[in-house]
């Protein structure tokens, strides 16, 4: 491509600035639209995964083989002898992809206060380790979260509290079948009440310290059911789970499960979301394509006479086509840069502030068993942005190619006579 052709293309673009700006606007607007959709859909996906894993479940769980999903109280890590919990945690943390790990014990029992009672799931946690993995500690609506000194404190959900009629400071009795078959029971005090927004959790999950749940269940301190893990990058969950299973498996039979396995409904939702994103993206892309095509076609068609003149002056048809494509490519790149520049503050806003969804109710929205919250946050999806840019640029080129090709095939005398 000669420098002269580039010069000609440049001059052509500026010969009719209005036409050029309209075409640019069509491409740039289409691009911003696609950025918006991709960002919001990626945000929803991310929020679902993040919120679905961070409340109670965690991103990876390590169990004794056969513990999940029956959750038999006997199937502790390392069997009946248990295991060196701190050594195991250290081994897990030594993987650089792991952000934090926390030991857990589970049981089922009857929570009873005054004359009302309810069946609950008991979760024993270490108060200064668990908040690194899950965020229930940030959902305390009343009272306080567990502390290391609080051996007989429990934290319950607001739905459970109102069903049973108890409040912070109330005494409750927990009754359970302990590991040895006896009736484990003790008196506890409600230290805090949380509100997670998830009914099943708010209604049925009781948090207490790991050691006091071990006492209640007659489990030795070396016996825990699970290690919950948070990663630096959640997308690596399945890979890291497999690596941990191999690594820990050298000393102890374990099963490490990543969130897609622990919450298949969440994994299904993410798949579903990707499907919807594709459809939406396709629709918005079509809209953008129509806009770009329309302006591009018109812009080139109206120059048929001018192109005929160029050919009459001795320009070869191939050179005409290359000229038009150069103009179109230049336009597309400039438009995408403009669109991208306009998109940056928008995407930043979506990621940082989110879209208000709850509206007047300000309520919490939950989807597929996950609390999404009333703000819809965006998340940057660079591959999608790249695909959108390439798609739009290709559309611009193809829409320019067709009229240019037609014009190049007229005889100059004919082309000149066209309006």
């Amino acid at each position: 491509m000669s420098a002269r052709l580039l010069q000609l293309a440049w001059r052509n673009l500026w010969r009719n600035p209005r036409r050029t700006f309209i075409t640019m606007a069509a491409i740039a607007f289409g691009y911003v639209m696609l950025l918006f959709v991709a960002c919001l859909m990626a945000g929803l996906r991310w929020q679902m995964i993040e919120n679905g894993t961070c409340l109670v479940m965690s991103q990876i769980q390590v169990h004794a083989p056969g513990y999940y999903p029956s959750r038999s109280i006997q199937k502790t890590l390392g069997g009946r002898q248990g295991t060196d919990v701190s050594a195991m945690l250290a081994a897990i943390i030594s993987d650089r992809r792991v952000y934090a790990a926390a030991p857990r014990v589970y049981g089922y029992g009857l929570l009873s206060a005054a004359h009302r009672s309810a069946g609950v799931e008991l979760m024993g946690i270490v108060p200064d380790q668990e908040p690194k993995v899950t965020i229930l500690n940030s959902q305390i609506a009343k009272g306080s979260y567990l502390t290391a000194r609080m051996s007989k404190g429990v934290v319950i959900g607001d739905k459970l509290a109102s069903t049973i009629g108890i409040d912070v400071g109330s005494e409750i009795v927990l009754l359970t079948q302990a590991a040895d078959g006896s009736m484990g029971n003790d008196v506890y005090t409600v230290a805090g009440i949380y509100h997670s927004g998830l009914d099943a959790v708010d209604r049925g999950l009781v948090l207490m310290s790991l050691s006091s749940l071990q006492d209640l269940l007659h489990l030795a301190p070396a016996r825990i059911h699970e290690v919950g893990i948070k990663l630096n990058d959640i997308t690596a969950a399945t890979t890291v789970a497999a690596a941990l299973e191999d690594q820990l498996g050298k000393t102890l039979p374990v099963q490490a499960m990543a969130w897609p396995e622990l919450a298949p409904e969440l994994a299904n939702y993410v798949q579903f979301n990707r499907g919807i994103t594709f459809v939406l993206f396709f629709i918005f892309f079509l809209l953008a394509v129509i806009g770009v095509m329309n302006t591009m076609l018109m812009a080139v068609f109206e120059r048929t006479r001018e192109l005929g003149m160029l050919m009459a002056l001795g320009m070869r048809p191939v050179q005409v086509i290359v000229l038009i494509l150069t103009e179109a490519a230049g336009l597309a790149v400039a438009s995408l840069v403009v669109g991208g520049a306009l998109g940056v503050p928008l995407l930043w806003y979506l990621q940082v502030h989110g879209l208000e969804l709850g509206g007047a109710t300000g309520g919490v929205i939950s989807l597929a068993g996950v609390v999404v919250g009333h703000l819809w946050y965006g998340r940057q999806d660079y591959p999608a942005y790249g695909q959108a840019a390439l798609g739009l640029a290709a559309t611009a080129l193809v829409s320019a190619l067709y009229p240019a090709w037609r014009a190049a095939h007229y005889r100059p005398t004919e082309a000149i006579r066209k309006v």
Binding site: S117, A118, V173, L175, Q177, G181, S182
Partner: protein
């Protein structure tokens, strides 16, 4: 929820049989004599009141556990108090009407157990909630469909197959009850599911005369799906129709 349950009929169960009180007979379809025999067996442990000392031995993959308890019954009311092991001694269960109360000495609390929670094995034993909680009226809920007369293990027995009546709210698809011919005591009881598979079996032995009645003093419940698991109940002392005050069954008395 694995939970402990108890109940009034439960004691009848503990006392040996899933047969407990018997409704008046009105089904001419059943063979009269068969019904009378089943009734008699069902009444084996019935009395206006009773005080019983029982030892329960639970064997499963977790090892073996012995629990001793004393049981008081008066009409529909039942009180069970655990006497050993040491760390559970004093725990008590009171069944009054449809309410079940637990007294937990460690917590010094009395807890009411919701009926929905009364669903599983009691204290890790092989006796389920349905044995313990549900009132089973054998001749009311079941028809005696077949009758076998012959020898089982060298002992002459009558064997009755009980199938649930169409509208009976029962869990078993079939119950087979063997009764020793010589003295009309139960020897074996099998509980089958709706597909005719044996779910668990109860074996009676060690017949002794206690408080004027010949009763089996040793019962062994074996679940069919758990090899090696079983729960044995032994009656150490039984006193029928002894005076017991209503006070015994009051909530304050639980402590």
């Amino acid at each position: 929820m694995t939970f402990m349950r108890w109940q009034k009929r439960s004691v009848a169960m503990l006392l040996g049989l899933a047969l407990s009180s018997v409704a008046p007979m009105s089904h001419a379809a059943d063979d009269q004599q068969a019904r009378q025999t089943v009734e008699r067996v069902a009444h084996l442990f019935s009395s206006k009141s009773s005080i019983t000392t029982v030892k329960m031995q639970i064997t499963n993959e977790d090892g073996q556990r012995d629990i001793s308890m004393k049981i008081w019954s008066l009409g529909e009311k039942i009180l069970v108090r655990i006497t050993s092991p040491q760390d559970e001694a004093g725990a008590a269960i009171l069944k009054e009407g449809s309410d079940i109360w637990y007294y937990l000495p460690k917590s010094n609390r009395t807890v009411k157990i919701p009926p929905s929670m009364a669903m599983n094995a009691w204290m890790g034993s092989d006796f389920t909630i349905d044995d313990l909680v549900k009132e089973t009226f054998l001749t009311r809920d079941y028809s005696i469909s077949t009758f076998f007369e012959g020898k089982r293990g060298g002992v002459a027995v009558d064997e009755y197959t009980l199938t649930p009546k169409p509208d009976a709210a029962v869990v078993w698809g079939k119950i087979i009850l063997q009764i020793r011919k010589a003295d009309a005591v139960p020897t074996w009881q099998g509980f089958y599911d709706e597909d005719g598979q044996l779910v668990r079996e109860l074996t009676f032995s060690d017949y002794k005369s206690m408080s004027g009645r010949l009763i089996p003093t040793r019962l062994v419940m074996r679940p069919a799906d758990k090899a090696g698991a079983q729960t044995t109940i032994e009656y150490e002392d039984v006193a029928f129709d002894v005076p017991i005050s209503e006070e015994t069954f009051s909530l304050p008395n639980l402590k």
